[in-house]
């Protein structure tokens, strides 16, 4: 068990809390004792700077660690907060009580403004775009001397004044900064442990699957980006109160590099990682200062050693040395049963989709009745998966309509029927290549399907365990998804789709790679699911599995319906035999 737990990618999930955060608590107590009893003014200053970077990195952990988006704008948000405090404090005479909220709001507003277009970009394009934001803000700061003091910056930023008390340098300032770290860390930790954090982690691991599980990927990413900006702004404001001067250096790339390095060395996605990383990496160069310029070499070697020895960061190393105990499984609880549907549930009319010059789906129409099992067959490239993608919203049709219980859910820019909305309306699906988050347990993966409808993680997990039990897979619950063989991965993915309690279930080659016994077992489960009123559309190549299971079969070829009738007629239909089954199968 220890081995399997240690293989998990670092997340903010519950199983990691005990050891990692426990050791961090010891470190925090030691730091408090050091600060209060031993540290010189210099030591307190370094500790204060470490607190500032810890706060900025906690925010970065949300968007980068949990959300998986390499935002290189965190340095810009840090700088925006710094300049808001610097300008308002030194030029307008505002006090901390007024400048601090503004320093949170300015980066928040910028994040919301630029986030909408930028967050649509994929991985490295997103990183480059966010880097561009930082460059633009830096140029504005340097070339607006009337407002920002230009390249010289603005001196004379006042210190923090709280309720009339001017916080002096040293221990009081360090205590204030670390209080903000504690508050910020607690908020981030709570968010990450909850449904929002789980949902964000799933968006990081598999955004396509997240959408089909009812999660609004765009909104989750935007919220994470905006939240990270607030943390960045808060850290920037505190940095300026510590330095008493603001200059373009707060917007330069080294700030971003420091935050990124702290996150990676500390442990990606972990609040504890941000704190440990900041304390270590801000102190590390100070320990080697006596080496004059050679300290950079030693610093670089130390960093390299840290990354090689602890590839998952310091918190990952702690987890490896002190593996956390697995959390106890919840008591399974059956989720509330929705009103069973009757009659036609899904109606597809004249559906069409082209990719360039290729007509992938061409005038497909079909109807799924509640409780029915419909087979969708055809040669590779005939358009089967594209039909499922069109129905689930991952692709947008060029023509045709899709009605779910009479409601038009055809995905388009105008209608706004994105995958998450379609999923929430009652359509669930599985994928041809099973898609499960590698760092999650089976229970986590299935509970993810309940995040948008259950009130808490505990409730979602109790429901998820019940669903796993229905598929005779409850014993898999604590196992990491990454360790499962193909057949069990398919079972878990089916459980996840089933946890949505859909009215329509789209299964893309569910029997691929299964043994005969496993296929028979799967068929039993699918019949049981249909018996509850769910309409099933099963894409499959294995006629021996599908034809006895399905009540109705459609065969596609080059995007068009070749056959639409009972399963008994498939093998005898000359067009199906010619295009798909071959003469020997008839």
């Amino acid at each position: 068990m220890r081995e399997t737990v240690s293989k998990r990618a670092p997340t903010l999930n519950l199983p990691h809390i005990a050891a990692g955060e426990g050791i961090v608590a010891v470190v925090v107590v030691a730091l408090v004792a050091y600060a209060a009893l031993y540290a010189s003014p210099y030591g307190l200053r370094v500790l204060t700077v470490a607190g500032v970077y810890a706060l900025a990195t906690i925010g970065f952990q949300i968007v980068f660690g949990l959300g998986g988006a390499l935002s290189l704008a965190q340095g810009a948000f840090f700088g925006l907060g710094a300049y808001a405090t610097g300008i308002l404090g030194s030029q307008w005479g505002w006090t901390f009580a007024a400048t601090f909220p503004v320093s949170l709001l300015v980066p928040l507003a910028v994040a919301l403004l630029v986030g909408l277009p930028v967050l649509r970009l994929e991985s490295h394009y997103f990183a480059l775009a966010t880097l561009g934001i930082a460059q633009v803000v830096h140029l504005l700061a340097v070339n607006s001397p009337g407002l920002t003091g230009g390249a010289n910056g603005l001196p004379g930023v006042p210190g923090i004044v709280l309720f009339g008390w001017a916080v002096p340098r040293g221990l009081p300032l360090a205590a204030i900064v670390w209080s903000f770290v504690a508050i910020g860390g607690l908020i981030a930790w709570t968010l990450a442990r909850g449904r929002w954090g789980r949902a964000l982690t799933l968006v990081r691991d598999d955004p396509l699957a997240a959408g089909t599980l009812g999660l609004d990927v765009g909104r989750l990413r935007l919220t994470a980006f905006a939240l990270s900006a607030v943390y960045g702004g808060a850290a920037g404001a505190l940095a300026v109160h510590t330095q008493r001067v603001v200059s373009p250096e707060v917007l330069e790339f080294p700030v971003m590099v420091s935050i990124l390095t702290i996150a990676v060395v500390g442990g990606r996605g972990r609040v504890a990682g941000a704190i440990l990383g900041a304390v270590l990496l801000i102190h590390l160069p100070e320990w080697f200062r006596f080496l004059e310029r050679s300290y950079l070499l030693v610093y670089g070697v130390a960093l390299l050693a840290a990354i090689v020895l602890a590839p998952h960061g310091l918190t990952g190393l702690i987890d490896r040395l002190f593996p956390p105990r697995p959390k106890p499984l919840p008591i399974p609880v059956a989720p509330p049963v929705p009103q069973p549907a009757t009659g036609p549930v899904l109606q597809i009319a004249d559906l069409g989709k082209s990719f360039g010059g290729v007509r992938a789906v061409d005038g497909v129409s079909l109807v799924l009745d509640a409780g029915s099992i419909t087979g969708l067959i055809g040669p590779n490239g005939s358009g089967k998966t594209t039909v499922i993608n069109l129905v689930s919203g991952l692709e947008r049709p060029d023509q045709g309509r899709i009605l779910l219980s009479g409601q038009d859910i055809t995905g388009s820019d105008i209608s706004g029927w994105r995958p998450d909305r379609i999923a929430r309306a009652g359509i669930a699906r599985t994928f041809q290549a099973v898609s499960l988050p590698p760092g999650a347990t089976v229970l986590d993966a299935v509970a993810a399907a309940r995040l948008d409808r259950d009130r808490s993680i505990v409730e979602a997990e109790a429901h998820a365990l019940h669903i796993l039990g229905r598929l005779n897979a409850a014993d898999l619950a604590p196992r990491p998804c990454a360790d499962l063989p193909a057949a069990l991965r398919r079972r878990v993915e089916l459980a996840r789709a089933l946890a949505r309690q859909p009215s329509v279930l789209l299964l893309d080659e569910p029997a691929a790679g299964l043994t005969d016994a496993e296929k028979a077992d799967l068929a039993t489960h699918l019949r049981a699911i249909a018996a509850t009123g769910t309409a099933l559309l099963v894409v499959e190549h294995d006629m021996g599995f599908l034809l006895p299971l399905a009540g109705h079969v459609l065969c596609l070829d080059q995007g068009r319906i070749l056959y639409d009738g009972p399963p008994e007629g498939v093998r005898s239909d000359p067009t199906v035999v010619a295009a798909y089954l071959g003469e020997g199968a008839a």
Partner: protein, 373 residues
């Protein structure tokens, strides 16, 4: 008791022993890494060379701490140094770092001895800063006066850097040229990271200037001059102080430097007096490199501090008073505070003849007020 007597006597003698020299610390907090590492290293070397020859009555210690180029690192370095019987600090030449260090220096009451040219560091009303390098008000007046009065040019084109150094110089040059009746026909700021300055050179020439005035850092200065030479530009170039640095000249062939002039506080490799030549020889011997005006300015500054110590100053406040009120005949010039901590009021113009990388002093400007009339 008789047995104890020799022991007590021995202890008393040991305690009375030869008088121990007082210990004073002069930390050197300069940028040794980052884009100002060349200049910062010159600062370091100048300070270290000066501190080698301390008065016999005191023991000198001097930690060298890299401040990088961020204000945060500079303040942290000052906080680190402050707790160690500090008498004065050789402080960074980077203006933003100085601005960040000033409040802390005032709080700890520690004199900062610097060669920063950023005008605003002596405009904060802080009595603990002393600048041993002419500020932009001085050097840019000399720069503009040489262009207008000596070269007779009336249509200057200004290319400056988009940094604190560049923006400060640009403001003073614009004002000085305006006062001299030679309004700029072109001005443009360039990023220090720009890898090709031909576009800005082309645009500047399109404005038909009769002189190209540069206020760029070392690398961009060399790049601009190389590209101007390669394109056969015949308009004279009068550059900023970065050009006088031997490390800048080393990036160019002597022929490319023909006719190029530059303003600076001093050019130790150009000689001028036996004392300056001795300094240059000692510097080469100690650091195996050529000294520049920053090294000489920092050297002069720390020598003035040590003169104060030799005269009896033992506390930071003693040294502050000595620097505030005294006069020091340094190697580059004679230093005296203007009441704000500006100690240097002279500048020189050096020019290259195209046969070597060692410039000759073409014009000296003393007692420059910074107000062009």
């Amino acid at each position: 008791m008789r047995r104890l007597l020799p022991v007590l006597l021995g202890l008393a003698i040991a305690a009375a022993g030869p008088a121990r020299a007082e210990s004073l610390s002069f930390p050197v907090l300069v940028p040794l890494t980052g884009f100002l590492s060349l200049e910062g290293t010159s600062q370091r070397n100048g300070a270290v060379l000066a501190l080698k020859d301390a008065p016999a009555s005191v023991t000198i210690s001097s930690d060298v701490i890299d401040t990088g180029t961020s204000p945060e690192a500079a303040v942290t370095a000052l906080e680190r140094a402050a707790g160690r019987n500090v008498a004065a600090v050789a402080a960074s030449m980077l203006g933003t770092q100085m601005l960040a260090m000033l409040p802390l220096a005032a709080e700890y009451k520690i004199p900062l001895v610097t060669v920063s040219g950023t005008a605003s560091i002596t405009e904060q009303g802080n009595p603990w800063v002393f600048r041993f390098f002419p500020g932009d008000a001085v050097t840019k007046e000399a720069h503009a006066r040489y262009v207008v009065e000596e070269l007779g040019k009336k249509r200057p084109a200004l290319i400056y850097q988009t940094t604190a150094y560049g923006q400060s110089g640009k403001a003073h040059l614009t004002e000085a040229f305006k006062s001299l009746g030679a309004d700029l026909v072109f001005e443009e700021g360039v990023d220090p990271a720009a890898k090709d300055l031909l576009p800005v050179l082309t645009k500047a020439l399109a404005a038909k200037p009769d002189v190209l005035v540069l206020h760029l850092h070392s690398g961009p200065t060399a790049l601009f001059i190389r590209q101007a030479a390669a394109n056969g530009v015949e308009v004279p170039i009068v550059a900023g102080s970065a050009m006088h640095q031997p490390s800048t000249a080393a990036l160019l062939e002597p022929a490319e430097l023909k006719g190029v002039c530059a303003e600076t506080a001093a050019s130790p490799i150009s000689g001028g007096s036996p004392e300056v030549e001795d300094f240059t020889a000692a510097y080469r011997s100690a650091f195996n490199t050529e000294p520049d005006a920053f090294a000489l300015g920092q050297y002069d500054g720390m020598r003035m501090v040590l003169e104060a110590v030799k005269a009896g100053a033992r506390t930071p406040d003693d040294i502050r008073k000595a620097l505030s009120t005294g006069t020091h005949r340094g190697l580059a010039m004679t230093y005296r505070s203007d009441g704000k901590g500006n100690m240097a009021h002279s500048a020189v113009i050096v020019c290259y003849d195209g046969t070597s990388r060692v410039p000759k002093i073409a014009k000296r400007y003393d007692n420059v007020t910074g107000v062009v009339k």
